[in-house]
């Protein structure tokens, strides 16, 4: 069996959008925990323990998002304390943690999605729909890594000219601001030039061809069928309200129904599908290596 990242782009995209869609449309803490835990697990299975800074960033984002809600929303019956005439409630805090889990979980999923779906694979899908869309996507997908490279160049140039002083916090921050301002100006100009240049070369006028050949194989079909079946069960549970969760004013959980439990279980299985495949593939790979 192939590694999950080697599946057909359509299969991979369908799976990602199923997982992300359920995470976004269900507000149930159980689904949120499955989504967040699954997303982190998937990311670590693929990347190991590298990307420590990303994890740190997501952790800080999680804490900020979780704490923002109780400060903004004052619904909820259990008052923890009163901040300048506004009650800060336990329910609002839990709601904040829940939505932070959703947002961070979805961000982790998209992180993995962009790793797997290289621009080539995105173009394979988008190109089939519309040449114009494929042009815009290929340009925007290229933009973020390009800016990162460009920022490094500008920063190096500033240092070489002796303009970038980083021996104290204030000057360091000011230097970074200057680099950001330069990058923003350059990006605006670059966007126009690139667009003109690509139009002149005939991008977006016809169907795009691919360098690589993609084949929708029988394992793709099997994977798609399993994804659709599990998506159906969990989407039905979400749509029928079996996975409803009320935070305000009192927390009222409703997951006891068979539909709710099976929905959550199906979602858990859906999330774990590629992890299982990746683990199986890596075990087999190591096994085969050991026989050499």
């Amino acid at each position: 069996m192939r590694s999950f990242s080697e599946f057909d782009p359509i299969t991979v995209t369908l799976w990602f959008f199923s997982v992300i869609g359920i995470a976004m449309f269900s507000g149930h803490p159980l689904v949120m925990s499955i989504s967040l835990a699954g997303a982190i697990l998937f990311f670590i299975v693929r990347n190991g323990l590298r990307h420590g800074r990303s994890h740190l960033f997501f952790l800080i984002l999680f804490i900020v998002l979780a704490l923002a809600n109780p400060i903004i929303s004052h619904n909820g019956a259990t008052v923890l304390f009163v901040l300048n005439n506004a009650p800060v409630t336990l329910e609002a805090l839990l709601y904040g943690i829940n939505s932070a889990a959703m947002i961070v979980g979805v961000l982790y999923w998209f992180r993995s999605f962009t790793q797997i779906m290289t621009s080539e694979k995105v173009l394979r899908i988008a190109g089939a729909i519309s040449p114009k869309l494929s042009l815009i996507l290929s340009m925007s997908l290229r933009a973020v890594p390009m800016f990162a490279r460009r920022a490094k160049q500008v920063s190096d140039a500033q240092k070489a000219m002796g303009l970038y002083n980083d021996d104290n916090i204030i000057d360091d921050l000011r230097g970074r601001m200057r680099v950001f301002s330069i990058i923003a100006t350059w990006a605006l100009e670059n966007g126009i030039i690139t667009a003109d240049s690509m139009t002149a070369r005939g991008y977006g006028t016809g169907r795009r061809t691919q360098l690589r050949r993609f084949r929708f194989s029988s394992s793709d079909a099997a994977f798609t069928l399993v994804t659709l079946a599990l998506l159906g069960v969990s989407a039905a549970a979400v749509a029928s309200g079996a996975l409803d969760f009320n935070f305000y004013p009192h927390i009222e959980a409703d997951v006891n129904g068979a539909a709710g439990i099976s929905g959550a279980a199906a979602y858990g299985a859906l999330v774990l599908l590629p992890v299982i495949i990746e683990t199986e593939v890596s075990i087999r790979w190591k096994y085969l290596q050991s026989r050499i």
Binding site: N75, A77, F81, V82, N84, N85, I169, I170, D171
Partner: protein, 615 residues
């Protein structure tokens, strides 16, 4: 039989006539009959039995409960259809409010049910939300029901410990509230003759009630004269065996509590909440059961909340359940009855009360129910024989439960105490200490540019400023602590209602009668706005409140008491009226003047359902 009964009745009531003022038992019966006739007319029922089987059964679990309790104590009816409906309602709804569970239990009990729900809910309900759950729970315990964790004696102890120094009881605050005090007395009444500590507590409560009575005989609550408070006091006095028309403590300028309450009687027999208002459900039902309580006291029957139809299971011998003592009421024991009038009142229970009660039940002007007098006699004999009834105890009406739900917010136990802002020096010290540590670290690491230290200093200063401008208080400190206004320039009233959503939802936080805050008076200082009064109300009465943009004077109130904008369609939300007019300004811009009347109303159609008059 009927004729005989009426004759017996009039004989026993002679002393009242001799007193020269007040209402006779027949007149009281007419008043009750007027209310029943009004309700029959409104619900289109031909007889009381029709009403019970029809509208009251349909509304089981929603608004029938107090009528059922009142009717069950008025005469004997077949309430099996209602009982079935309520049992169905309870089994299909999660009832989160402890007082609502107890109300359903009482209604089941009144309907003659022997459902185990009545005892099952007691352990999880008593003491849950505060004083009201104890009052309601004690009524059930007084009816002979038992539970594991509480006994009547323990609940009585708890209620006594909640008494304020002024002799009253309240949901929060520092002063006794008329309604809550009266309701507590109703619950304590059966233990008046048994325990001397109850006796002295009740006497202090009575002095407060006597002191607060107005010259027209009525009472006011939250600064607004209303009939419900009078009804509660009348029920409490009747429960204690005090005839409010005889006791000089409760007659002001010749006006009795009944006079005070009847000021709110409308020509059609129903009652309004404030003088000049229209029909009000709560006022009507409370007037009805208080009059029934009074009549039962005159007739020597059990108190209103010692239910005729109760069917308690035999108490377990190992529970240590303190069962009320047998009937021992004598004229001398009737609390508060002045010595001079004690021997002339009709209140004491005498040996022939059985026939009197049967008579009074049948002689009502709604005797269309064809009630066999013997049924009442036997029911009462059974009641009097088994449980103690020093006097009646009555449970309050729906307005009490709405106030209770507002008090939910204060349920958590107080852990932290201390004056507001006491934590600030500590936090500031921590921030300053952390800044100093960081500076030391930078120095040690050799990053000794002065700009580094300036940055750390600025960050610490920002942190300290944030601590200084924020004010964190515990809910116990914040709620219930009304501000004292030194330079009050006038008084305004405010009311918060959500009638437009009634019947559209079964959310527990929406009060049954739509009243989130009854008409309440607030003192204002120069420049106070509608929003200031709303904030003060939220603070004083523990109401949940959510607004957007409170840092400027552009405030938008998005939710009150967990009821939020957009919950009932995209045109729903809170609006406010001042003196009946919708101002075209934000509520934090509207400066109030003396005597203004504020209403906060929930609209589902952008004000079109509220009869708005624009500024």
């Amino acid at each position: 039989m009927c004729w005989l009964a009426v004759m017996l009745l009039s004989v026993s009531l002679l002393p009242i006539r001799a007193a020269g003022y007040g209402y006779t038992a027949d007149e009281v019966d007419d008043l009750i009959g007027g209310i029943i006739a009004y309700k029959l007319n409104v619900s289109g029922s031909g007889s009381i039995q029709d009403w019970i089987d029809g509208r009251l059964t349909d509304d089981a679990g929603v608004m029938s409960e107090w009528y059922i309790i009142a009717l069950s104590q008025y005469a004997q009816y077949d309430m099996s259809s209602y009982e079935q409906a309520l049992t169905g309602y309870i089994s299909s709804h999660n009832v989160y409010s402890a007082t609502a569970r107890e109300k359903y239990a009482l209604a089941l009990c009144a309907a003659g049910s022997s459902d185990s729900y009545i005892t099952d809910i007691l352990d999880s309900s008593i003491g849950e939300v505060g004083i009201m759950s104890r009052i309601y729970g004690l009524h059930l315990l007084s009816n002979g029901y038992t539970c594991r964790e509480h006994t009547a004696a323990s609940v009585v102890d708890e209620l006594l410990s909640l008494q304020y120094p002024d002799g009253g009881w309240a949901l929060f605050g520092e002063y006794g509230d008329i309604d809550v005090t009266a309701m507590t007395l109703q619950a304590l009444a059966p233990y008046y003759g048994e325990r001397s500590d109850v006796q002295s507590a009740v006497e202090r409560g009575l002095s407060l009630l006597s002191e607060k009575q107005m010259s027209d005989g009525g009472y006011s609550s939250f600064g607004t004269p209303n009939p419900e408070s009078s009804a509660q006091v009348l029920t409490a006095l009747s429960a204690l065996g005090i005839d409010c028309q005889q006791d000089s403590r409760f007659i002001k300028d010749g006006n009795t509590i009944i006079d005070g309450m009847l000021n709110y009687r409308l020509p059609d027999g129903s009652y309004c909440h404030t003088s000049g208002g229209g029909f009000n459900e709560t006022a009507t039902i409370q007037a009805m059961y208080s009059l029934i309580a009074y009549k039962r006291m005159l007739g020597g029957q059990t108190p209103l909340y010692i239910l005729d139809n109760r069917k308690p299971q035999a108490p377990h011998s190992d529970t240590g359940h303190s069962e009320p003592a047998p009937v021992t009421t004598k004229a001398a024991e009737a609390p508060g009855a002045p010595a001079s009038s004690a021997n002339t009142t009709a209140s004491p229970v005498s040996s022939d009360t059985t026939s009197v009660s049967a008579g009074s039940a049948v002689s009502g002007n709604v005797s269309a129910t064809e009630l066999p007098a013997t049924a009442v006699s036997s029911a009462y004999t059974q009641a009097a024989g088994s449980y103690a009834v020093t006097a009646a105890s009555v449970i309050s009406g729906t307005s009490a439960s709405s106030v209770t739900s507002a008090a939910v917010i204060m349920s958590s136990d107080s852990g932290s105490s201390g004056k507001s802002g006491g934590y600030k020096p500590v936090v500031i010290l921590i921030i300053a200490g952390a800044g100093a540590m960081l500076s030391l670290l930078l120095f040690a690491l050799g990053k000794r540019s002065w700009k580094n230290f300036a940055f750390v200093g600025a960050a610490a200063a920002a942190g300290i400023i944030i601590v200084l401008v924020t004010d964190i208080r515990s809910p116990e400190e914040y709620y219930g602590s009304g501000k004292t206004k030194e330079n009050a320039v006038g008084t305004v009233t405010m009311e918060i209602r959500c009638d437009t959503v009634l019947g559209k939802t079964d959310k527990e936080y929406i009060p049954e009668d739509g009243t989130i805050l009854p008409v309440t008076s607030f003192e204002i200082e120069e420049g106070d706005t509608v929003y200031d009064v709303l904030t003060e109300a939220a603070q004083t009465y523990g109401l949940q409140l959510e607004n957007k943009g409170s840092l400027t004077n552009l405030v938008y109130v998005s939710g009150i008491n967990y009821l939020y904008e957009l919950e009932f369609g995209e045109l729903s939300g809170w609006v406010y009226h001042v003196n009946g007019i919708s101002p075209s300004r934000g509520c934090a811009e509207y400066v109030l003047s003396d005597g203004d009347r504020i209403e906060w109303l929930y609209t589902c159609e952008l004000g079109r359902d509220l009869n708005e008059v624009y500024e």
